[in-house]
């Protein structure tokens, strides 16, 4: 017998049944019944954020660091419109997220009622799916469906809009087990014939490269293990997108570093010069490919992806394999082993000596200084002082984000949370809050820029309220650094609106929130400052004043090919033509 409950109780019951332990939210008129139900239970912890955008990024941080979906609860109208950025971010980066929003009562919908917004209309293009629930009897089933859709196939954000009268009315509770999920069952097993063709090409490869992405991480920790096995046993070089960092360890022998616009020379030239490319759970984003008609011109391409629409969208491939990365890799390894683990090992060795030559270029070298902290140096020191810790890193968006990807090493999946596809400034601080909620004992550091930090800095209060000792490592260049870099390279050094005027005193700001503030500007004091940050049992803002005009290299200018990288300031003159300028 299913029990009769109010809609609000159904929401809480369904969340519990889905195994939710934490939700990130902000109350308001249209969700008061649900907040009342939350008040009367102890199983689900509610983290009160300070802005609904913060709730979405916190949920993303929670989701990406655990592999579980993140849950957000907001009110109607402004509460709902404030989740649009976070949902779009989750859509681009394939993060499972369930947003529950309050709505005005069904009988008032369409009347421009107070705090009414067409939430399903607004969030349709930024969700994997969404629902307006008009009948309490459908509520439990809809929430179960929402979890199923958010977490299966290519993960993504979903939204359930719940009018206030639906929260008050009663209906029998429908259990998760009674909800049919047959309607949405994306293909998980890869086509074995395609896998066999891919293996055949792999065996013949003389200059192979494995290019992995966020799909490996989304597919679960076991997939990263399979990837590592494949790399090691075939001696293939491997590179990864920003979203895929950690699937193969940065300390691993075959690691070439990240590829793409700010990727390493060796990764990009290996992509360009390979004769066989295995793309594992990545999507040939424009930040990866550069000029598409010059992208890896000589290679046989295999693309493994759970999303059929990613196939041949940007780069035509020779063998597409649709399915879950874990399943595909398992079958790929099985077939390859059954056929005798063949590789062209002599040729691959030769390929490695070519790659080693590129690696010897040490493209991440930079000119250090003993008078001013170089941002790259700050990250190298942070890496050195934290590398053996149980560490999670989030970032904001800008130069500091790319430097974090270049100079911090990720040896495990789920350890690096960053806004890749959307590039959302303001992601990192709330994401660090979400990660810390999920991993209370771990070290959680947000690598921030002075500008990005200010986009959601109100979430420092959330960190204080919930005793979340997140460390905010601000690489303060008093600039919108990445914008400044583009203006220097592309717009004749006309620095339009790209400096940070009237920056707050970050130490005082930290103290105003009740956190610890540390200022460091002398390279000699850097280690001490980092250690002080790490030793403090509570949230810290470390204001690390760095070189203002450092550029992030290597850089493939927009519209250029992988073999047209700029490696240092001296090469920037005329590096970018008019066609490149018009691109993003």
């Amino acid at each position: 017998m299913s029990r009769e409950m109010t809609g609000a109780q159904i929401v809480v019951e369904a969340l519990k049944e889905q195994g939710v332990d934490t939700i990130f939210g902000y109350p308001g008129g249209a969700v008061l019944p649900i907040y009342d139900a939350i008040f009367q239970q102890n199983d689900i912890k509610h983290i009160l954020v300070r802005h609904e955008q913060g709730a979405t990024h916190a949920a993303e941080g929670y989701a990406r660091s655990t592999g579980k979906p993140g849950v957000v609860l907001v009110t109607s109208g402004p509460g709902a419109t404030n989740v649009v950025t976070g949902m779009t971010d989750a859509l681009m980066d394939s993060i499972p997220m369930i947003v529950l929003s309050g709505q005005v009562p069904t009988f008032m919908i369409g009347n421009d009622a107070f705090q009414e917004a067409d939430t399903v209309g607004i969030t349709r293009p930024c969700s994997k799916h969404n629902w307006l629930v008009k009948d309490t009897a459908d509520l439990a089933e809809t929430i179960h469906q929402a979890f199923h859709i958010a977490t299966s196939g290519r993960p993504g954000p979903v939204l359930v809009d719940i009018p206030k009268d639906v929260q008050f009315a009663s209906a029998p509770y429908k259990a998760k087990a009674k909800t049919s999920t047959a309607r949405y069952q994306p293909q998980v097993k890869g086509d074995i014939e395609a896998i066999t063709r891919a293996v055949e090409a792999f065996e013949q490869a003389e200059r192979p490269i494995i290019y992995s992405g966020g799909g490996v991480i989304n597919s679960g920790v076991a997939s990263s293990q399979l990837l590592r096995e494949l790399v090691t046993s075939s001696n293939s070089p491997i590179t990864s997108t920003l979203m895929g960092l950690g699937a193969y360890p940065a300390s691993g022998d075959n690691w070439l570093g990240m590829l793409g616009m700010h990727g390493t020379v060796e990764a990009n030239l290996a992509m360009h010069g390979c004769d066989f490319m295995l793309c594992v759970g990545a999507r040939f984003d424009d930040r990866i490919t550069g000029r598409t008609d010059a992208f890896s011109p000589d290679s046989f391409k295999v693309h493994m992806d759970i999303d059929p629409s990613s196939i041949n969208k940007i780069i035509r491939v020779d063998v597409p394999i649709i399915g879950d990365i874990g399943h595909i890799l398992e079958d790929f390894l099985k077939v390859w082993k059954a056929r005798g683990r063949k590789t062209k090992s002599a040729a691959i060795k030769k390929w490695w000596s070519q790659i080693n030559e590129w690696q010897a270029r040490n493209c991440l070298d930079f000119t250090n200084s003993d008078t001013i902290i170089k941002p790259q140096h700050a990250l190298q020191r942070l890496e050195e002082l934290t590398k053996n810790m149980d560490r999670y890193i989030t970032t904001e968006v800008g130069q500091h984000q790319m430097w974090a990807a270049q100079y911090l090493n990720f040896d495990d999946p789920h350890r690096f949370m960053t806004s890749g596809g959307l590039g959302t400034m303001g992601y990192g601080l709330p994401a660090s809050v979400g990660v810390q909620v999920a991993h209370p004992e771990a070290l959680v550091i947000n690598i921030a820029g002075d500008a990005s930090f200010q986009m959601n800095m109100q979430e420092m209060a959330t960190a204080i309220q919930f005793n979340l000792p997140v460390k905010q490592f601000i690489l303060n260049n008093e600039r919108l650094g990445m914008v400044r870099q583009w203006q220097q390279l592309l717009h004749g050094e006309r620095y339009s609106q790209s400096w940070s005027e009237s920056l707050p005193d970050f130490v005082k700001l930290a103290e105003a929130f009740g956190a610890k503030g540390i200022l460091v500007s002398d390279p000699a004091d850097l280690d001490e400052a980092i250690k002080e940050m790490l030793a403090y049992d509570g949230p810290v803002i470390l204001d690390c004043v760095v070189e203002k005009h450092e550029n992030c290299f290597p850089m493939i200018p927009s519209g250029k090919a992988h073999n047209e990288m700029i490696l240092c300031d001296e090469e920037t003159a005329d590096a970018i033509d008019a066609a490149g300028k018009s691109r993003v």
């Binding site: 399903v120 209309g121 349709r124 293009p125 994997k128 799916h129 307006l132 859709i149 949405y184 020379v265 030239l269 360009h272 010069g273 004769d275 008609d293 010059a294 011109p297 000589d298 290679s299 046989f300 391409k301 999303d307 059929p308 629409s309 196939i311 041949n312 969208k313 780069i315 035509r316 491939v317 020779d318 590129w358 270029r361 073999n563 047209e564 990288m565 700029i566 490696l567 090469e571």
Partner: protein
């Protein structure tokens, strides 16, 4: 120092498989079977507008009231790569059951219905009537000074009829858009 690597392509390259005709646009008729739930049409249309695809014609109606299924018929134009993307993207929409590309999946029939109001007197009126007869258009309303013709056929037939009616006093036209179906079973 900018590092240069010899560019080149081999028969292994995907680019060598590229058909030079690929850039030519084609018109395809897609039959999209969907759950008839709130917002489903907005999802489909939003996909086309959001991603910059063309809609030449779109028709939609419930085809299975009990099963709550609707059939959306979309005529769209794009390069083969774009058409493939459109189909893949449609397939991602949760309430979409099935996407059939009637243009490539074998022979199909396409039909459209139109209502045309033609006002005129004397010789023009007689000529309109005569042409309607040839096109097998029915008169569904008539006054002493006007007709409303109902015509059914392939879109090109309706185009032709419309062109002929224009000088004869065509003053209003309503077209349903294309309904299409594969031939045989």
């Amino acid at each position: 120092m900018t590092l240069h690597l010899k560019k080149g392509s081999s028969r292994k390259s995907a680019y060598d498989l590229k058909n030079p005709l690929d850039e030519l646009e084609e018109t395809h008729t897609l039959a999209v079977l969907v759950d008839n739930e709130a917002g489903v049409l907005a999802r489909v249309i939003g996909l086309f507008s959001g991603r910059g695809y063309n809609i030449d014609s779109l028709t939609v109606a419930e085809t299975d009231a009990e099963g709550h299924r609707s059939r959306i018929t979309i005529v769209t134009t794009g390069t083969p790569a774009v058409i493939e993307q459109i189909k893949a993207q449609l397939g991602l929409i949760i309430p979409v059951y099935r996407v059939n590309d009637l243009t490539v999946e074998g022979p199909s029939v396409e039909r459209e219905m139109a209502l045309l109001k033609v006002a005129g007197k004397g010789e023009k009126r007689v000529e309109a009537m005569r042409l309607a007869d040839i096109f097998r258009a029915n008169v569904v309303d008539s006054t002493l000074e006007s007709f409303v013709f109902e015509i059914t056929g392939a879109p090109e037939k309706i185009d032709a009829f419309t062109d002929l009616m224009r000088p004869l006093g065509l003053c209003d036209i309503a077209r349903t858009g294309v309904a299409a179906m594969a031939r045989g079973i």
